[in-house]
Symmetry: C2
Subunit: 189 residues, 2 copies
């Protein structure tokens, strides 16, 4: 299998960037912790920024994959799946390695709106919104776009709360709020 080293690098670099941040992690530390030589790294990626972008692409793919797979496991109907968002979040928050959202952090470290890490982070959220939108429409929401936006805002807020530790049960609080919004938007009890 050819590109295994490259994939290995992206996977391991993700874990390190996710844990320690982008600017705070130097290439030398990446070498020390991954066991992959610097020469190899710079053969696969011309700059650190390119590696970061590859890591973000990898994270976007694996996260959305995992997230929606878990969503399907929790709920049968679209409405159940909308609420399951917050059960899946709880699973994530309970992971020992949980450190908040990679994309929120990326957009915090690379703030210029033109920076590809920034735009890619925004794109990740846009894809989530799109998926939430479809679910909301399938659930029969009066205004699917509005409900999706609100659920996404609740999700991001819960992530921040979980990461910063100012709420003992952000998944629970946001799920309860979501239930009220979903019920109101779908006209059920």
């Amino acid at each position: 299998m050819r590109p295994s080293k490259r994939d290995e690098l992206v996977r391991k670099a993700f874990a390190i960037f996710y844990r320690d941040g982008f600017h705070a992690t130097g290439m030398d530390r990446l070498v020390a912790e991954t066991g992959i030589s610097k020469t190899t790294m710079f053969k696969h990626f011309r700059t650190k920024d390119e590696l970061i972008l590859a890591v973000l692409r990898y994270r976007d793919e694996t996260f959305r994959n995992w997230f929606f797979r878990r969503l399907d496991a929790y709920g049968e109907t679209p409405k159940e799946k909308l609420l399951a968002i917050f059960d899946v979040l709880r699973e994530w928050f309970d992971e020992p390695a949980f450190r908040g959202c990679m994309f929120i952090k990326a957009s915090a470290e690379f703030q210029e709106p033109s920076h590809p890490a920034y735009t890619q982070s925004a794109e990740h959220k846009r894809l989530l919104h799109q998926a939430f939108c479809r679910l909301a429409a399938d659930a029969g929401a009066i205004d699917p776009d509005m409900l999706a936006r609100q659920l996404l805002i609740l999700k991001e807020g819960a992530i921040v709360a979980a990461h910063m530790g100012f709420d003992a049960d952000p998944a629970g609080a946001s799920k309860q709020a979501a239930k009220a919004l979903v019920d109101a938007a779908t006209g059920s009890a």
Copy 2:
């Protein structure tokens, strides 16, 4: 007036850190942009980290001060003030210099839970929760703590949405959600 230089440094450093991030901003750039000599900086603060902590303290104070003052300007009753949270957010989002929440970004760049920048950021959010809690209690909420947590989660989510630009009107969406939650919690129409 004695400590004016120190205050000037903190104010100007805040603007630069807020715009460009902590790790991405070197002391030399701080010198170039503030016009304050490096010698003076390191006389007032022994390390860059100490300056950062002072900047965070300054931001905590000025932000909460501004925020709750604006809250009072928007609403008469506790309930109105709870909803005004999201009108004040809109004001903030509309500022040209808006770049998200300083404390979310600080906790993204300084992730070790023991790091003072991290704990101080969490403390800022705790103080907001406390204030929201009092407002929720005054508004007659059935479970003031739960309502306060939900409103805070909505607020953080709206900030992330505004910063990352994946929602055209995060203040509006979160306010509508907040209205549903506040009405339900206070048993009014």
